[in-house]
């Protein structure tokens, strides 16, 4: 009696119905609005037309054709980019072969390393400009391109520079030598970082390179070409050919390529594996993923929620290792959903050049359509969609941070890579169930584990069939740390000592 009387008093005093805890929502009002803080982009001039970089010079494509490069946040054309055809790729491979035979493979390792150190330093000097260009060209937030991508780009060159004269120590009992000309095809999600992952170890080991950036994000790779010129890198050591799928196919099928490295979709990766069959080309593939992020009841919850948010919404979810499947242990499910729902409301979506923006633009219209289609399939198949209520800019390609609950293993959103800011949430009871379901897809790139119990971490780390496992953290990268997948997420490793093996012949 006494208790209920007290409760009645409270209700009367506040004069509204008490909302059950699980339904309570944070009311941000306009308290969450920040003044705009855009990074200044006016100082950086983007030339109206970009050529191919072959033999140390910028040359027009033999087809005379150019395609537009669009800022996905504004839909404005930033510049036009040369489309390389088979003949251009052939010229680039010849330039790379000449540089390999005449200069680069003969150069002492220490000297090769000095070029890479020089490149790393120039990248550090121009980091802000490159970050702004990366953001304008690809739609990723300046916060990320400035604080994650660019520091890692410079660090990669710096790390592999030091390997160039120490390769014999990397392979005990073997004599390493370079492979020759490496053809490298990279994706649009981390344009400059992927270029660094590919070029730095290739050059450190004495190979020369023909690199194709993704057609929506060629700008910074061509800016990197200017840096190579400034560093006086011998002509032809790195050649950059821009274009779409046909340009990539010309590299894959070129008979004078010794090594192919591809980062992109599993679908294209399989085609490349098929094309390389029966040839002597050495191949490494870094492909798709659908990582499980496993949240145990004994996890440090607030820290874990931040990790889940970073795991899926980092770079708009355009990350092959994104933690796109969240497995929550049943006992904490409702608590986790409430925290997630509140946390995504605080994510700022909008102008990627604004320093306060958390979620930038989707890289291209086709990618936006793919995300929409897959999310719709999730809703159609019975999952429940939760999205932030933010206002999306009128121009550009945007997708509000989202998560799907009530997802089952049979749903497409539980196994297909969405490559967008969309999280599929599922539950589990036992650790065995967690790793079995986590492993029960063809991908095996990465995984996350959240628990305060050390022995559980080691058990999960050993059971998860994935190339990278983050325990009580997520989406961490470092040039010394090998990265790459199991199963259909590809083969070979990039980064660290293990990343050298992809670019060396061992005798």
């Amino acid at each position: 009696m006494k208790v209920s009387a007290k409760r009645a008093v409270v209700v009367a005093a506040t004069n509204h119905v008490v909302v059950p805890l699980k339904d309570r929502k944070l009311n941000f009002g306009n308290k969450w609005d920040f003044a705009p803080a855009p990074e200044d982009s006016k100082n950086y001039v983007i030339a109206p037309q970009h050529e191919l970089f072959i033999g140390g010079e910028f040359v027009a494509p033999s087809s005379g054709q150019y395609f537009p490069s669009i800022n996905p946040a504004t839909e404005q054309t930033l510049t036009t980019i040369a489309a390389a055809n088979e003949a251009d790729v052939d010229t680039a491979v010849k330039a790379a072969r000449k540089a390999y035979d005449k200069v680069w493979s003969k150069m002492p390792g220490l000297e090769r390393g000095k070029y890479l150190y020089r490149i790393a330093r120039i990248i550090q000097e121009k980091a802000r400009e490159l970050a702004v260009l990366e953001t304008m060209d690809g739609g990723k937030t300046i916060k990320e391109s400035r604080d994650v991508d660019l520091p890692l780009v410079a660090a990669h060159f710096f790390y592999y520079a030091g390997w160039a004269d120490k390769l014999k120590y990397a392979f005990p009992g073997k004599t390493p030598s370079p492979l020759g000309v490496a053809g490298q095809i990279i994706p649009w999600n981390f344009p400059l970082l992927m270029a660094a992952w590919k070029i730095a170890p290739a050059l450190a080991c004495g190979n020369t390179v023909v690199l194709k950036p993704a057609e929506t994000t060629s700008l910074t790779a061509l800016r990197l070409a200017q840096i190579f010129q400034e560093a006086e890198l011998p002509e032809g050591v790195v050649n950059i050919v821009t274009g779409a799928g046909e340009t990539g196919a010309a590299i894959v099928n070129h008979p004078d390529i010794n090594k192919l490295a591809f980062t992109g979709s599993t679908e294209v990766g399989k085609k490349i594996a098929q094309a390389v069959a029966g040839t002597k080309k050495k191949l490494t593939l870094e492909l798709g993923g659908k990582a499980a992020n496993i949240l145990f009841e004994d996890a440090p919850l607030d820290q874990a929620i931040e990790g889940v948010i970073n795991g899926i919404y980092f770079n708009q979810g355009h990350v092959c290792c994104a933690g796109s499947r969240l497995f929550v242990q049943e006992g904490i499910y409702s608590k986790v959903i409430k925290k997630l729902r509140d946390r995504i409301q605080t994510l700022r979506v909008g102008n990627p050049l604004d320093k306060n923006t958390d979620i930038g633009a989707i890289n291209s219209r086709p990618q936006l359509e793919k995300i929409r289609e897959l999310v719709q399939s999730g809703v159609d198949e019975g999952a429940e969609l939760t999205q932030t209520q933010c206002t999306l800019p009128a121009k550009g390609y945007w997708f509000a941070p989202s998560f799907l609950t009530g997802v089952t293993h049979a749903h497409r959103v539980a196994s297909e890579e969405i490559f967008g800011p969309v999280l599929s949430v599922m539950t589990f009871r036992t650790p065995e169930e967690a790793f079995e379901r986590a492993n029960n897809i063809p991908y095996g790139l990465s995984a996350g584990v959240w628990t305060d119990k050390g022995s559980k971490i080691f058990k999960m780390v050993s059971k998860l069939r994935a190339g990278v496992v983050w325990a009580n953290t997520y989406n961490k990268f470092d040039p010394t740390s090998p990265f790459g997948g199991y199963k259909e997420s590809g083969f070979g490793r990039e980064g660290g000592l293990h990343g050298l093996a992809a670019y060396c012949r061992l005798d």
Binding site: L287, R465, H498
Partner: protein, 287 residues
């Protein structure tokens, strides 16, 4: 009156058991001179698929066994082989029509290879793993792990030594193997299977099929539950077919062609790396 010899049909080795081919087929083994020896089972697609099931079932226990334990078991196979040297020498000699001395050299080298690789089980991850000095407050390390089920194609010759040299680096890390034995001289492999069966190797860790290589290759290449192929067959047509097929599920493919199987170079720990995956784990450092 002379006593009539008892003829034996050599069988397949799947999951630690010796089935005949489910197809009921068998082939006559012939010596290098064309002399008719015994009959042996002619493995079918179904036999191969059964072998994959057996190999998959064995991965759990074998990969979980301690490296020390796997090393002891591989050493035990060397002990068993030593004990039955005479039997294998005779098998190789009558198949290939070489001298007993040359056959003996092959068998003793096979024993030594097993001893060599047995010792790698608890060492290769120290040599090839790493602790990575990342620039953030994280503990970060990379360790090799077995990839799973591996198909090994042995060359025709040397029928025993090449098989042992190819299989040992595959299974020592915790993989399980399905071996397609020498097509020309299958009997030494079948006899080796009988020796394995009486060592401590758990059933399904090594499975041995005899028959026609080209018939099995398309099924090997496209099987969705095979993780890797180690191709020692030394046939570029087969190699191209396997490589085209592996794209279906991105199996790992390694080729050891034109190898001098008697050379010490074959004792190469880098062969272990053809069928392992490198896993990198991160954990924050803090209080």
């Amino acid at each position: 009156m002379n006593r009539l010899d008892v003829k034996k049909t050599y069988k397949l080795f799947i999951g630690g058991k010796f089935p005949r081919s489910e197809s009921g087929r068998y082939l006559p083994a012939k010596s290098a001179k064309g002399e008719q020896l015994d009959n042996y089972a002619h493995a079918s697609r179904k036999d191969f698929r059964d072998a994959v099931v057996a190999a998959r079932a064995a991965t759990g226990g074998w990969s979980k066994a301690s490296a020390y334990n796997r090393g002891q078991i591989l050493y035990r196979t060397a002990e068993m082989l030593q004990n039955r040297t005479a039997e294998l020498v005779a098998e190789i000699a009558r198949s290939t029509d070489v001298s007993a001395a040359k056959s003996k050299r092959e068998v003793t080298l096979a024993i030594d290879r097993l001893v060599h690789f047995a010792g790698w089980t608890d060492k290769y991850s120290q040599v090839f793993g790493s602790v990575n000095p990342v620039a953030s407050p994280h503990f970060n390390f990379t360790t090799p792990e077995p990839t799973g089920v591996v198909v090994v194609l042995a060359p025709d010759e040397p029928s025993l030594l090449a098989l042992v040299s190819l299989v040992a680096p595959v299974v020592l890390s915790g993989n399980t193997a399905i071996v397609v034995a020498s097509e020309k001289f299958p009997l030494p492999a079948a006899t080796f299977a009988e020796i394995l069966a009486t060592s401590d190797l758990p059933g399904g860790v090594v499975n041995i099929l005899t028959g026609k290589r080209a018939e099995l290759v398309p099924h090997i290449a496209t099987h969705m539950d095979v993780n890797a192929i180690v191709d020692g067959a030394g046939d570029s047509e087969i190699s191209a077919k396997l490589q085209a097929g592996v794209a279906t599920n991105l199996k790992r493919y390694a080729r050891h062609a034109a190898t001098d199987w008697f050379s010490a170079k074959v004792e190469d720990p880098y062969w272990i790396l053809d069928t392992v995956e490198f896993k990198t784990a991160w954990h924050p450092i803090g209080i």
